[in-house]
Point group: C2
Chain length 127, copies 2
């Protein structure tokens, strides 16, 4: 589909470590999801159909703290991160999570939405 766009070179050389599917631990995933900031990131990622850069997801914390949360999410296997130029794109590892823990991610997202509705607030959930 790209006429002569300089084929988006993914990882420019820097590689990021991700746990293999089999190495993803339920406890780690639950722990990652139990943090409000990280849950917000996951919900935003789930709402968008595309990858998002770290800076696309605004969190009410500092830059370094944001980096920390993204790292936690990556290291526990919840998201996939790849470098694209100066940006780092993030995507949910839906297939892996659904294969390992069927229905878990969906029920968490649903629960988060429901809780927001009950709290009378609007948070990251919807698109």
């Amino acid at each position: 589909m790209q006429p002569q766009t300089p084929a988006p070179p993914p990882s420019t050389g820097r590689a990021l470590e991700h746990p293999a599917r089999g190495a993803i631990r339920l406890e780690d995933v639950l722990h990652a999801l139990s943090d409000p900031m990280r849950l917000r990131v996951v919900r935003t990622l789930a709402g968008e159909a595309r990858e998002l850069a770290c800076s696309d997801i605004e969190l009410p914390v500092s830059k370094s703290t944001t980096t920390h949360h993204f790292r936690v999410l990556r290291e526990c296997g919840v998201i996939n991160q790849i470098y694209r130029g100066t940006a780092k794109m993030n995507a949910l590892r839906r297939e892996d999570l659904d294969a390992l823990f069927p229905g878990l991610l969906d029920s968490v997202l649903l629960a988060a939405d429901g809780q927001d509705l009950r709290s009378g607030g609007s948070a990251g959930g919807g698109g």
Copy 2:
């Protein structure tokens, strides 16, 4: 729903505080479930159809630590605790959790079972 319960002496006088259904927070539940000891307790409780005393669930930690974990589970709304004589009976708050977070508990239990199978071990899961 028990037809003939021989001894229904409920709380002996000491009352325990539980959060109302509406006060249960998803993040707290996920956090509670992210601890291996507490997850084991929840799985054991889910496997048994009846209430279990604290001492019925053996954990590889000291008694005071066990008390701590049960307290966390109760305060975040995952389990219900009532005194019965010298024992304290524990039960999952399935109805509340299912009403608030449909499918969440089941998917967590399923995920935990699946993970155990993959790890080649048999843990608390059961039913």
